[in-house]
Structures are given as C-alpha cells and as structure tokens.
C-alpha cells in the first residue's frame, strides 16, 4: 500500500488516493512554422477521506509534503458532507489497449515531422492559407488505491493533432479547423484531416446569402455536437439527481426518433475516452442510453449513484462533462466515449435530397442558451447553403436555433452511414433534421 494511505489506515474510516504522473509534449506551429516545443512532467495526488462518516478532499503537487495533504483532507472532512457511498473494493477490469509504446517513445523530432508533413499537404492544395497546427503526445500513468483494498494502475497514451486553416481576403476571413485524438500512433491519419479541410476550403470559396426561416439542416459529425450536447447533459445522472434533466423519470419512454441509438462506452478498444476504470476505480462499462429511440438509462459516479439509488456505471470522471480533468477536481459524472449509431444513407445522398437548407460543420457559442431544456442557439462558424441538393457556397453571420429533444424526436430526416470521432470522445454520423430556425443576415 502507498505509504501515505498506510498513514491513514485506521486513522480515518476510509481513504482513497489517486496518483497521476503525466508526461506531455505539446508542439506548436504558427503560420506554418514551428514555434515552440514544450515538455511537461506533472505529478499530482488527490486524496479523499471519509472521517466520522464525513467526506474531505485535498490535492497537491508538492510531492515532498504528504502530511500537508493528509492534514488538509482530514480538516475538510471535519465539516464535510455526510458520505453517501463507500469506496469500491478490489475488482477486475481489462485494459482496452489504451497504451501504445510507439506514442510513448515518439521523439520530439518525429512529432515535428508529422506536423510539417500535414502543413506541406495543405500547402499543395492552397499555398496562400495561413496554417496553425498543434501536435501533442501524452503518457499518463494513473494509480488509484483505497483502504477498501482496491489497487489499480493503468498507463494511457494519447496523440492529439489540431489544424487551423485561415483564408483572409478583403472583407472576409474564413477559419476552418479540425482535430484528431487517438491512443495509438498508427491510428493517427493527418491526411484525413487535411482532405476534409481542403474540401471545405473549396466549398467555401463562394459566399452566399442565408435566408431567415425554418429550414432543414444537415449537421456533419463535427457540427452534430450542437444537437448532442443538450442530450449529453440530459443523460448525466447528476442532472437527473439535480432535477434539471428533461429525461428524468422517463426510462422506457420513446424520447427520440426510433432510428436513434446512443451509448456511452468506456470499454471500446483503443478509443480516445477508454480506460479500464474511471477516476474512482469503478470499472468502465458500456451503457445504453437510448436504444431505437427509447430511453434506457443514465450515467453515474459513486456519489450520484448512491444519492439516487442507482448503480455506478463507471462514469466518475474529473474535469466535467467530457472528463480528462487530471487529478485536481473532485470526480463527477462524465462521459467516456459517446457513441451515436449510424444510419444507412451516405451524407452526400442526404444532401442531394434537400431542396433548400444548410450543411453545418461548426458552430460558435457551444453550450450557450438553455441547454438543460434542450435549447441550442448558435452562430454558425462553418456552414454551407444547400440548394436543389447541391452545395452552392458558404453562409456567414447566421444563427441557428431549436430544441434538440424536439428536433431529434419529431424532425429527424436521416443519419448518415459513416460515423467518425469528433471533439475527442464523441463518435457520431451526420445528423439531418428538419425545421431548424435560421436567421441570416443576407450576406
């Protein structure tokens, strides 16, 4: 047992220690040129104690002061919340291949090379565009140990690439971006990012006016986050506990169109949000949220599960809705990988069937508006006009608004047949819905 935990054993009711060691190498290119290389080595510990039935929390990066940490956590527990849960005891879970030695061993030179290759590819398509690129590798070793006998450790690797392409001309700046996050080096395909960016650059050359009325909108996988974010908030057991999820009490009800199935799955092999266990040591699982339109369940961490009398689903993550929060914050309910089931129609055919509408690739102001109710209201960052089944140009200064629950239940046109990873841990096809209100400025 960790020496620190041993110090606490018998002194408090229960204790849990999360120990994170991470090595990250972020590399930045700006305006097509290498700008900086950073190597970051962080070691932090988070301690939760339950003392006299009450919970206390403290974290530190001061590795030479373990007693400062234990004193702080015990002091907090003196006035803390009455603990509604116990730390889990020993359990088995399999690692979903989230470590790749070739990521861990990739040199700074290799990462610079990958960045330079991607920039060169974009340059061949468009020699004028400004290109910013970030590439980072990270190796994280997370260890969770508690006084109930749990002792877990996992090493996880990630490579993250994001590319921003900007085309400026008199009176217009067109900014495009795309990103990829993978666990294994061989899953990184910068060429695919570049292809998508090139296509958008081509489609966006002409600027066309956007009308102001209700229209069908095709959300590409990247743009679909505008529709899915309110749902992701609604599936969160914490929202259910707080009484702010419109889905509360509706398990078994048809809440979305019968073509829609959504799951959270932290066990997916090599997936960006996978791991053997969550940040509380609960094994990750595959949780059906909506199957063929019918609500199946919600996601829980230890505390929220105990408060509502549900079973923890292995979704106790630090860092909010999408996890990835290091060691500092308390765990809460977060998603692992969100998987939206594919449909049967190619995206191009969905577009071909639309007389007049928009294709939305990216929005500004994600999460603004009353998302608990399902409302979204966003400025389009990258969107195109569809006329008679064809993309005729890019629209600017245009707002889209609607209610995600309503649109995905009663106005679904189609789901595309090819899902992809977007925004790190979301896997979704394109989603086409009717009756989105569009407010354009005419140019």
């Amino acid at each position: 047992m960790d020496a620190l935990l041993k110090m606490l054993d018998g002194k408090v009711d229960q204790a849990e220690l999360l120990h994170l060691c991470s090595r990250t190498t972020p590399i930045e290119f700006r305006s097509g040129k290498l700008e900086s290389i950073k190597t970051k080595q962080i070691e932090g510990v988070a301690l939760r104690v339950i003392d006299n039935g009450r919970l206390g929390f403290a974290t530190t990066t001061d590795v030479n002061d373990p007693s400062g940490l234990t004193d702080a956590a015990i002091a907090a527990a003196a006035f803390g919340e009455e603990a509604s849960f116990t730390f889990p005891s020993k359990m088995e879970s399999e690692t979903p291949q989230v470590y790749d030695a070739s990521v861990a061993n990739a040199s700074e030179e290799r990462l610079v090379e990958i960045g330079e290759e991607a920039i060169a590819l974009i340059r061949t398509a468009d020699s004028q565009a400004e290109i910013n690129l970030s590439i980072a590798k990270s190796v994280e070793k997370v260890a969770i140990e508690n006084t109930s006998g749990l002792k877990l450790e996992e090493e996880r690797t990630t490579i993250f690439v994001s590319i921003e392409v900007e085309k400026a001309r008199e009176g217009d700046i067109f900014l495009l971006s795309d990103e990829a996050q993978v666990r294994h080096l061989e899953d990184l395909k910068p060429g695919e990012l570049v292809d998508r960016l090139e296509e958008q650059l081509r489609l966006g050359k002409t600027i066309v006016p956007a009308p102001s009325r209700e229209l069908p909108v095709v959300f590409t996988p990247n743009g679909a986050i505008a529709l899915l974010l309110p749902l992701i908030v609604g599936f969160n057991g914490k929202s259910v506990y707080l009484g702010i999820s419109p889905l509360k009490g509706r398990i078994g009800d048809t809440v979305l169109d019968s073509r829609l199935s959504i799951a959270d799955d932290g066990t997916l092999v090599r997936a960006p949000g996978s791991g053997a266990f969550d940040d509380e040591g609960t094994p990750t699982s595959s949780t059906a949220l909506v199957t063929k339109g019918v609500l199946q369940g919600f996601l829980y961490d230890l505390r929220t599960a105990a408060l509502v009398g549900a079973k923890p689903t292995g979704n106790g993550y630090k860092g909010g809705l999408f996890g990835g929060g290091g060691f500092r914050s308390l765990p809460g309910v977060g998603m692992s990988n969100v998987i939206v089931g594919e449909g049967a129609t190619p995206q191009a055919r969905i577009i071909a069937g639309i007389e007049e509408g928009l294709l939305v690739e990216a929005v500004l102001g994600l999460g603004q508006g009353n998302i608990a109710s399902g409302e979204f209201s966003n400025n389009v960052a990258v969107a195109f006009k569809i006329e008679d089944g064809k993309i005729v140009g890019r629209v600017k200064n245009t707002m889209i608004a609607g209610n995600a629950y309503n649109l995905l239940k009663d106005h679904l046109i189609a789901l595309s047949d090819s899902a992809r990873w977007v925004h790190g841990t979301l896997n979704t096809p394109a989603i086409a819905v009717d009756a989105v209100s569009v407010v354009g400025q005419g140019n």
Binding site: R30, S31, K33, L34, E35, S36, I37, K38, T39, K40, Q41, I42, G44, F57, A58, T60, T61, D62, V63, L69, A72, A75, A76, A77, A78, F79, G80, E81, V112, E116, E130, A168, I173, L175, S212, Y241, L242, G243, I244, L307, L330, L364, G365, L366, Q368, G369, S373, E375, S377, N378, N379, A381, N397, M399, A401, G402, Y405, S437, V439, Q441
Partner: protein, 458 residues
C-alpha cells in the same frame, strides 16, 4: 530558493532564460441542491522554464523543484530543435530590469478564516436560494479563494516575487416548471481581495433565485434585427470577447492580413468610443502588477476617440511589430508559458443616461448580463442571461434565450450611444484562450446602445 534559481539561470547556455516558480494554496466550498458537494483545501508547487536559443522557444514544466537545473538544460535542448526548423528567429523587445516584491494586502485575509466558517456562509446563501420559491429545484453555490506566490526570474537580472490573491463567489438558482421549462438565475463576484468579497451577498442570492423563477414565464425573443441596449455586464463581455481578443498581438503578429485590419490609426467607432485595458485598479481580478515576463503594468488605450490606438503585447510581439511591451503576457499557472491576455478591460463612460437611450426606440431589446460568448475573428456571438423588450421607448416584457451575433467592426461602428454609468465586473469564471482557462480578468462598460443587431431565435 532564490539562490538555486539564480544559479540555474547563470549556468544555462541559452540566449535568454526565464524561470517561474509558483506556490499556491486554495480552498473551495461547493453546494449543489441541498447538499455540500465539496469542501477542499489544496496546494500547488511547480515551476516552468522558458528558453530562447538561436531564436527558438523551448519550454519545460515540472513539479519537483530539485530538478530545476536539469529542466533548464532540457528547455535549452528543445529550443535548439525549434531553431533548426524555423528560419525566423524570435527576439524580445527590451524590458527594464526589475527587482521587486509585491505583497497582497487583504482587508479580511481568507487564510485566517476557517473552512467551517466559509462553509457556513455558503450554506446560508444556498438556503436563501432554495427557500425563495418551491420552483427552485437546484442550485450551484461555489466559493473559491486562492493565494499564489509567483517568483519570476530571468537571465537579464529581473527577480520579482508577487502574491496574487483571488476570491470568487458564484450563486446560481435553477427553477423548473415541468420537464422542459428549466431556467436559471445567477450572480457572480470576483476580486483580487479578501473574504469580504463573499460577505453580505444575501440580497444577491435572493435576486438570482427570483430571476430564475421569473424566467419560467418569460417569452422567447423572436429572431431578427433589433436596436439593442446592452447593460454594463453584457457590454463588458462584448468588448472583451469581440474586440479585446482581436487586440492581442500574438493573434496578429505572424499574420500580415490580420495585422493590416488592426492598423494603428484605423477608425473603428464613433468619436466618443474609448476602450482601455488597465493592468492595475485596486481590488480588480485582472490585476497584473508585473506580467509573467516581468513587465510592469500600464494603462493602454486600445481605442481612443473611435480610433485604434494600441494593441496588447508580449515582449516577442512588441519586438516583431515595433511596439513597446504592455505588460499583458500572462499565464494561468506554472503549467503554461505566458501568452498575450487582457487584464481589466472596459469601455470608458460616455454622457448618456439609460432613459435617453431608451427614448425613440420603437422596437428593441434590452439585453442583461452575459451567460457566455465566443468569437471567431470578426464574427461574435454571445448570450444574455435575460432581457426585456423595448416598446415605444419603454421596457416591456421579460425575454429569455437572447443570443446576439454580428460582425465586430460593423457592430463597433453601430454603437450610437454610450452611457455615463460605467461598472466593472470580475465574475467567478474567467477568460479562456489557447488552452489556458480560467484566467482572472475584469471587464466592464457603461450601458451602450447598438443599432441593427441580429438576435437568434425562433
């Protein structure tokens, strides 16, 4: 530690070396609904080294300060690698050598307040939120305090130790009236101050709760173009988000086309429009006595009499653009290198009253408090917490879902009246840029009136 830092810098073979060591102690009390969710005291110790070698930047971040010398060497090594791949060497504008210690002066030092007392205060606000109406279903009440001691040293001889205090309070009430009618009301506070920042907020708590309940019956705004009056809170977020970020020179200095749009002397607004970023006003959250390159604070007029007067600079951008560093190179913590950021940013007061602004508006929207905002170059979008319709010069019904969008430059030109009632807000969140969030900032403005603003909606 001072000796070790100076020795590590002296032994470094880079052309420029800086070391920043940070020690932080912070606490948090968080209530959600009727339960205490977090009670925490945490600490932080870590360092960052930034080196320039042959014009390339190398950076290392670490927790174990015993490794300082080794990390200085590593930063130099990766800086050399950058230099190999980039033919345009970085150089820094000159900055005065400073040796100083800046102490925090706290009226009511939060370090002397027990966690129990902090908890009791937050619990009392939470009780007010919950008891205002039986329609309040949830709350989010969060108190944070932190004191950072930041030591900055560079190879030019600058050595600065600063204490940076920060206290925030967030009061959120969530009201519900059926499964799809969920509304929230909030109040936020943030200052570079002591425990007094969080005291005596009972009335604010009651207001937040009451607003959440009122919004249940508010009407959604109808999408379209309106004459809009922004309250000081929302106008402050607008000037920060839509315009302020555009003035951050690291966004422009390697991009000729963007830099051209932001040419000093360009006319951006009417003659009474003045926009300022000011590095120190007692008590404000954005205060940066010395930035994270050791450059002293200043008051920078971004727009003076409607004309672009200055940008915000780091030493690198100032050198590239032939300007003077403005003390705006900031990092949220030792985990990050400084980038160009705002401090306390505001529109200066004009001479109109709110009733003068309202008069002669046949049909408009009064938009109050910011819920969020995002910009992409000249396109911006931000959402108001709530609003009121303006009919025939008078405030009418309460409105919800007020999301505004537009083109920055057109919008600045369309500001036709500036109020006489400038107010500054620190808030409980902060600014995000380049993966660094939240950075404590303050923004503010008087009421402003803007013609032809697009509001999204159904």
């Amino acid at each position: 530690m001072e000796g070790k830092i100076k020795q590590a810098i002296a032994r470094c073979s880079a052309d420029y070396t800086e070391v920043r060591i940070e020690r932080e102690r912070r606490s948090q009390v968080l209530y959600r609904k009727d339960k205490l969710e977090n009670l925490e005291t945490s600490s932080e110790l870590g360092g960052i080294v930034r080196c320039l070698k042959d014009g390339g930047w190398g950076i290392t971040v670490f927790n174990d300060l015993a490794q300082l010398q080794e990390k200085v060497g590593e930063a130099t090594r990766v800086a050399q690698l950058v230099a190999l791949h980039n033919a345009e060497p970085v150089a820094l504008a000159e900055a005065p050598v400073v040796q100083e210690e800046v102490k925090a002066h706290l009226k009511h030092d939060f370090r002397n307040v027990s966690l129990e007392e902090k908890k009791r205060l937050i619990e009392s606000y939470n009780r007010i939120l919950l008891s205002t109406s039986d329609k309040i279903v949830s709350t989010n009440v969060r108190y944070t305090d932190s004191l950072r001691e930041v030591t900055f040293a560079n190879s030019e001889g600058t050595f600065i130790v600063q204490e940076i205090p920060d206290v925030t309070l967030l009061l959120v009430a969530v009201a519900s009236d059926g499964p799809t009618n969920i509304q929230q009301g909030f109040e936020t506070f943030g200052e570079a101050g002591g425990f007094e920042v969080a005291l005596d907020r009972e009335e604010d708590a009651a207001n937040a709760a009451k607003r959440a309940v009122d919004l249940l019956d508010a009407r959604s705004v109808k999408g379209g173009k309106y004459t809009v009056i922004l309250d000081p809170g929302l106008a402050g977020v607008f000037i920060h988000e839509a315009f302020g970020h555009f003035c951050e020179a690291d966004f422009l200095f390697k991009n000729e086309r963007l830099a051209k749009i932001m040419t000093i002397g360009a006319q951006f607004g009417k003659a009474d429009l003045n926009v300022v970023d000011e590095g120190y006003i007692p008590g404000l959250r954005g205060n940066t006595p010395y930035d994270d390159e050791g450059v002293a604070r200043r008051k920078t007029h971004l727009i003076k009499n409607g004309v672009l007067k200055s940008l915000l600079h780091s030493r690198e951008t100032a050198n590239k653009m032939g300007a003077t560093p403005t003390g705006n190179a900031r990092a949220i913590s030792y985990e990050h290198a400084p980038i160009v950021r705002m401090t306390n940013t505001y529109i200066e007061a004009g001479h109109h009253t709110l009733s003068e602004m309202l008069a002669k508006i046949d049909r408009g929207v009064y938009a109050v408090k910011a819920y969020g905002g995002q910009t992409m170059f000249e396109q911006f979008t931000f959402s108001a917490a709530y609003g009121y319709e303006i009919v025939d010069g008078k405030l009418g019904e309460m409105l919800k879902d007020v999301v505004l969008t537009g083109n920055l430059f057109e919008t600045l030109r369309s500001i036709d009246m500036i109020g006489d009632d400038r107010t500054l807000y620190g808030g409980s969140g902060g600014c995000g840029k380049g993966g660094q969030s939240p950075l404590p900032v303050t923004d503010g403005s008087p009421h402003i009136r803007i013609q032809n603003v697009t509001i999204g909606g159904k």
